[in-house]
Amino acid sequence: MLEVDRVRVSYGAAAAIVDVSLTIGDRELVCVVGPNGAGKTTLINALAGLHRIDSGALRLDGRDVSRLAPHRYCDHGIAIVPEGRRLFTGMTVRENLELGAYRRAARAKRARSLERVCALFPVLAERLEARAGALSGGQQQMVAIGRALMAEPRLLLLDEPSLGLAPLIVTALFETIRTIAASGVTMLLVEQNVALALEVASRAYVLEEGRIAAQGAPAELRRRPEIRRAYLGLTEEAR
């Protein structure tokens, strides 16, 4: 469904990702792991139109979207849950969710989508009129995911959803991610918590210093000694 073809993105003179290629099939949950500063957020932001790519192509069902205006990406069913959530904190939870359904195709189904999000996150149903900035971290993450789901995405991009959340909340969050994946939404997940990410993903890519260093099925990656050492051992200690 999505084909990232030899993409390069840079900030000024510094290249953040170089020659990155990856594919995501229909209804797949693919994760990208890697250390801080490897370019994971740059990659996901480029996919959402938040950052222009220098060269390469982003093909959605064979059509290159990388030359579109930033506000046109979502027309193709791409929605993002960005790093740090980036909610519209001065607006209410309801307004944040409604804004998720801003694109024309999603606007018509707004009421039904809102019900669906409230069913997925019952705690949000009670806080719809609260200011988004007044919510707890976990609830804000729910709003960020809900906002993206309101866009009726075909491809959902999740950037570090577990960042800064308590372990118990992270477990619940990954349950939700599984539920969303099971409902037929294709997902790309960027995650620091490698152990957890490999549990939910059907395939994974390892991004190091802006390049794809390894890829494969989670079981296969887990067996590789360099990955065990660099990611699985360390992440378990860190937590």
Partner: protein, 282 residues
Amino acid sequence: MPSLALLAQSLASGIFIGALYGLLGLGLSLAWGLLGQINLAHFALALLGAYLTYQLGTAGLDPLATLAIVLPAFFVFGAALHWLFARFAVSAFNSLLVTFGLTVIIEAAIQWIWSADFRRLESHYADIRYRVGTLYIPLPELLTLALAVALSLALWAALRYTDFGKALRASAEDASMAQAFGVNAKALALLLSGISAALAGVAGLCIALSYTLAPSQIYAWVGVVFAVVMLGGLGSALGPLIAGIVIGVSEALTMAFTAPSWAPLVSFSLLIALLLLRPEKI
């Protein structure tokens, strides 16, 4: 002790001048709060609008009908101004400098076209006044109040309840995130900047109906309207009107009870008190 009639007269004139402050502050506040653009030229634009109303009105056009010409022209001007600001990535502080320069240019243009002599629009509106109790209320002032209330309420409702308004508020907070959800933030910014300039045109009409015009009048309201905008809250549509009336009434009462020269003290004391007590509001 002033008489009851004087008190009522002060209250009324305070409300009317406050409405003009609110109307002048409305466009300024929206552009500042939602676009990060401090448009000092808003005042020059309002006075230019007043002169245009004067010119067209003197040529025989009904003052209200001049809006049909002034509003579209100002809308285009405002949108073009923002397009330039966006094109050259002008920061909020630099926008203050640029629009100060623009103010000087507009002032020079006004002086060149209409000279520094006083100009007064002779319209039949100015002669109409309504008697309420012991007060006489001129139609132009009533019109200013009505326009200020109607426009503030309409914009408040649009910002709060429409998709357009929500998209604007969202882009003010995080433009690229709003874009990721399909908001054409650039187009909305042009639209809002145009609306803001058109509001200066409306204020210009009100100024032309009630005041004698001179180029230096550009600077007459700068201080007090900035105070009104800050008191009302940046980006707020109802705030400037409410703050404008509060300041207008307190100024008028100060004038009635002490001397007219004390009036400016009130608005700035209020502003300083706000800065000291609730700095997070600004």
